[in-house]
Symmetry: C2
Subunit: 255 residues, 2 copies
Amino acid sequence: MSGPAGTLWLVPNTLDFGTEGIPPDLQEVLPLGVIRTAARLGHWVVENARTTRAFLKRVDAVVPLAQPLQAISIVELPRAHKGPARSAAADLTPLLAPAGQGHDLGLMSEAGMPAVADPGAALVQAAHARGIRVVALPGPSALLLAVAASGLNGQSFAFVGYLPVDAAERAARIRELEARSRRDGQTQLVIETPYRNAALLGALLAHLEPGTRLSVGCGLTLPSGFTRTDAVRGWQARPTTLPGDVPVVFSLLAA
Amino acid sequence: MSGPAGTLWLVPNTLDFGTEGIPPDLQEVLPLGVIRTAARLGHWVVENARTTRAFLKRVDAVVPLAQPLQAISIVELPRAHKGPARSAAADLTPLLAPAGQGHDLGLMSEAGMPAVADPGAALVQAAHARGIRVVALPGPSALLLAVAASGLNGQSFAFVGYLPVDAAERAARIRELEARSRRDGQTQLVIETPYRNAALLGALLAHLEPGTRLSVGCGLTLPSGFTRTDAVRGWQARPTTLPGDVPVVFSLLAA
């Protein structure tokens, strides 16, 4: 229990959303302290209620939930368009009402850290505007794991979200990111909807310079996960087929 | 045990490096699976051998080490200058020799995720060049926690390291980052040596536009930690004094 106003806890989810097979034990990827916090929260705002209920069942197997799952309030964020979080957004203040009533509140994404590469940032912004304490809890982030395992520049890197789907626009954007990477020595990270993984890899290999280094962080934290980093010319000479059902982070650093 | 060649495991450290008082239980911030991996490794390459030994003692309190601490090989990375990781580096191949002999190898930073905002990326790069499997394990990252808790744009953000110490160069760099943030709608993250936290905050408030939003992620994961996000004019009207002994991540997003 906190004081007069509740705290907004940003609770990381696992990275196995949508993947097949038996999910790994929650303790493989989440600290016990985070699982304990998740187990005691009675109010959630989430990207997807169904995946949050599945998460809470996994929590319950490690630390019993403080109340029955059916008694826990789980409210979904309004669907957001992909794109910059600063675009016009719905007023999310009503979602923070439990915090105003002294209840701690959890924010959860479908995968990884909430409010990173997902629509949750607007809720965090609304919390700061109302003076509600915000605490982010440690856990898996595909972006950070990808940067670390890439061996590319980890002292300057940028995550820029999704690339355009239109082929010509995507090619132009790839060249723009490569030029920026060259100018600033900055690693550039992009993500894609899993079923387009192979198409995006093809586009990157078609439009990047042969000497640019490209890292693919595939299914990170999953048993089948791997990271391959190679120059574009190495990828072209020794292709890797990417699965279409697990998340991939693509990182590039121009020579 | 792995196959013919060992794996390079990137093991996240806690974020309480250099802070006073009793460190929190490792299980508050690290998954049990990560602690288990750390407990079985007999070979490490690290930023600082002393802090790695302290970390392994904390591991041992949760999962007994597979061998006595004195029998574990801990080799320090060559000291690197601050700056882009792509600058000329020593040949790190000899440090990977245990992996060539079939031993798993751990890489550890003084705080947070190795090879992010630290000199470890060169070792990861050398591992990829030799075909050694690289696996990054989930854990706390001050950068990711700061982005999430900031409420600023988490769909496009860049970490750019340290700012220049020289006042005029620092002011110019602050204005450059603000201009880039405005142009791309991209959150810009910087860090500073803790004793310069207050000076950097002062410089940011002196040189950013009043409407730019500034987030300070202070001592993240520590009991005293907090995140404040406000417009620059709000910071100026209601100052916060930053401690000089805990790490801070500064994030800005131009209006």
